[in-house]
Symmetry: C2
Subunit: 450 residues, 2 copies
């Protein structure tokens, strides 16, 4: 009998509820504040941006939230996603470690993002919204929302960070194939964009700027709301289906992870995989080390300040208590556009402060080396974002080779690189280097935080 | 209980042998001929190009061929592939038909091509070959062979049709990420390429020319063999795992197809799905209509001549009895590069002549319209090639809507369009038209055939 390569759940075994980690934490996360009053915001403050159902999920203290049947029905187009045992990578590394990866690249757009795009589109459509605006970096999130909007008959308007819009034209074409409209950000279409362009007509943009543009548009237009692809509690909630499935798949495998690694930009992929395992850890049923990996060029957890800051550049959002490099810090245009955000999910920031997870930063050269090794052994070319998790996974597996430990490592492989191949082309041509952090600009940005 | 969206087989239920349709046919297909003697060729004639194991499979009269464990082990990286019920498309069409699609886009390179690339690389490596050459059109086959060569430690050198090399740069990057070397074809590297370039320095190439270059190189270089991605018997044999899986999945679904549609370029995807169903039909266990769909710009079955012709442009291959437009006919550069081949698999040509399958040709505008409708309902953006099958599938489903018949339609969705998005961009911008057949050139080419 051959050794198993992957663990697949039947549709009937797909989890039917999302997990909310908040009630299981030793203390609740600090609330978002109104930037004027510095008082905790209420549902009314968020109503111009989000439908009531999502506002309720953002602050819920319930441990589980049922997934609507209409959402499950769309999830079934690609879920449950597979859990793979990376036997070929293990062999190439010569490690006694057992490496597993939970692969979200099977979704219609090739990443984990539809897990939240679909419920967000569903809840908006159910409350009569007809149009969603959003930002996107590499384009994974914009593609996901474009797909979800096509599914529920909503219009979709996307501001894409100019650096990625230029670097990754295929993502724009994918969004348009699903019926969305795409603008490069900063754009002349919004006051927030015009301010940036006036100061720097050649601005390559940032997620913070693109968020300002999409939020501004949603607040002004009729029947229009805004959708965010990461950072917020309800987004991480929707992503927990990843970890819930992985737990069931580890049962099938008869194994238990000792180390869990995921990449962090806004935190949704990492939180989605990690939170259900954190529940098990807090309940004493397993004891994995949980490790967040961020790019050295945008090290929010390892170099940022834990402070109240805006989620966007123009200061249109509530203040969020999070690890941040400062809302006007613009990270270098690394290829992992999805990790290029000045802040970190408040929930993950809080959990990091509680000492429940670890963090480390890795430069992009090591990450692409890991990505190529993975592609040539496992056959999947990983998106630039999860190469960060893979680089950390390989580090751990090589430590196991030295010590002889047969640790079980679980990695979040949140997407493939079909639309990021020019980044691999640049790496293979020797045209990729680790961006140095602009220390002076960073110090200045951090000094501006409360 | 929710209605099922997809049917997944467990790894343990993956078929462990390929199916050879030849012994089940009422008469055997005509043999390939030596172009000099016009006598049937023997194994020695093929030895400079292929390893012994594949030559044996090319002419085997056994009904089944065991899949080596090393090949099964690689297949498990993505196989068994899912069979989907296209409920959302059915609803959008308002048809009583039940539409199923067998999806091969889950493979490492996003198409069905690794099903044969992997065994071809395996058998070559097992016989001491260290380097494979090949041609590729859109790049699906080249990517597949690059992946397979990485898996078995072989060098891989690819001649890519110039039109696709320029139109689809991401495919080249994917091949290079897997470690392959890629040349545009025609190239100055071979005598075959130099002849073409001398006559037309701006030649956009064709599969026929690229095959000449790869074959020439393999015949000359040491420890080097050639790999073909379609047309030949052993290639179609390897692809039958698609149909064998689909048969098992229809058992799970408790359904039986009335109509089976697949797109045909060289014929490997179509044959792979159709042959196991043809076995069932010939045995009287089911009676599906089996329909091949080809591009109107390259209509080998519907407009070609059934004659002995070369597989390549320079005339380096044996003569194959097949439906052909003539080996020097260069089809217009339609976006479905994988269907842009002057000939058709001899086995499928023979089966067509026996009246066991139907064929029709569709223009690319209708195909892209079908692709966009499919993307916006089912979430998968189909590669330009299978949009031909989808267009025919939608035609059939709409006929069912008129007649009220609840036919069961099975479509081969052989790949996704992540690396073909510029074609969708051109369609959405209104820049795609049906290419008219160059009737005069075609008549001249057909007149040159025996």
């Amino acid at each position: 009998m051959a050794e198993r390569t992957k663990y697949i759940l039947d549709e009937a075994d797909m989890p039917a509820r999302w997990y909310n980690v908040v009630p299981d934490l030793p203390e609740p996360p600090p609330p978002p504040l109104h930037p004027g009053t510095r008082e905790p915001i209420g549902p009314d403050d968020l109503a111009p941006l989000f439908p009531q159902a999502l506002i309720a999920q953002e602050v819920t203290t319930e441990r589980y939230v049922d997934i609507p049947e209409e959402v499950l029905d769309v999830y079934r187009l690609w879920r449950p996603s597979p859990l793979f045992r990376a036997r070929r990578l293990e062999k190439a590394l010569g490690t006694p470690a057992r490496i597993y990866y939970k692969y979200e690249g099977v979704s219609p757009v090739g990443s984990h993002k539809p897990n939240t795009a679909v419920p967000q589109a569903f809840y908006n459509a159910a409350e009569g919204v007809t149009r969603l605006t959003t930002e996107t970096g590499a384009g994974q999130w914009g593609s996901a929302l474009a797909f979800a909007c096509a599914t529920f008959g909503l219009e979709c308007e996307v501001w894409q960070v100019r650096a990625s819009y230029d670097q990754k034209p295929y993502r724009k074409l994918m969004m348009e194939t699903f019926g969305a409209t795409v603008h490069p950000s900063p754009s002349e279409l919004t006051a927030s964009g015009r301010v940036i362009l006036a100061a720097d007509p050649a601005s390559t943009g940032s997620l913070g700027i693109a968020i300002s543009e999409a939020v501004e548009q949603a607040a002004q237009a009729e029947n229009t709301r805004y959708a965010l692809g990461s950072v917020l509690n309800h987004v991480l909630l929707h992503q927990t289906i990843i970890g819930e499935e992985a737990l069931k798949q580890f049962e099938l495998a008869g194994d238990t992870p000792d180390v869990l690694v995921g990449c962090t930009g806004g935190g949704s992929n990492f939180g989605g995989l990690a939170f259900p395992f954190l529940r098990e850890k807090l309940a004493g049923r397993m004891d994995p080390v949980i490790r967040a990996v961020e790019p050295a060029a945008c090290p929010t957890l390892t170099r940022g300040k834990y402070a109240y800051d805006f989620g966007d550049t123009a200061g249109l959002t509530p203040l969020l208590k999070m690890h941040t490099l400062g809302h006007d810090f613009i990270p270098d245009p690394i290829h992992a556009g999805g990790l290029r955000y000045h802040g970190m999910s408040p929930l993950i920031s809080h959990i990091y402060e509680l000492g429940l997870i670890e963090a480390l930063a890795i430069g992009q050269e090591d990450c692409f080396a890991a990505g190529v090794q993975f592609a040539r052994t496992e056959g999947i070319i990983p998106a630039p974002e999860p190469t960060h998790a893979l680089a950390a996974c390989i580090q751990e597996a090589l430590r196991c080779k030295e010590t002889g430990e047969d640790k079980v490592i679980l990695t979040a492989l949140c997407g493939h690189a079909h639309l990021d191949l020019p980044a691999y082309g640049a790496y293979l041509a020797g045209n990729i280097s680790d961006h140095e952090l602009p220390e002076e600009a960073l110090a200045q940005s951090l000094a501006g935080l409360p």
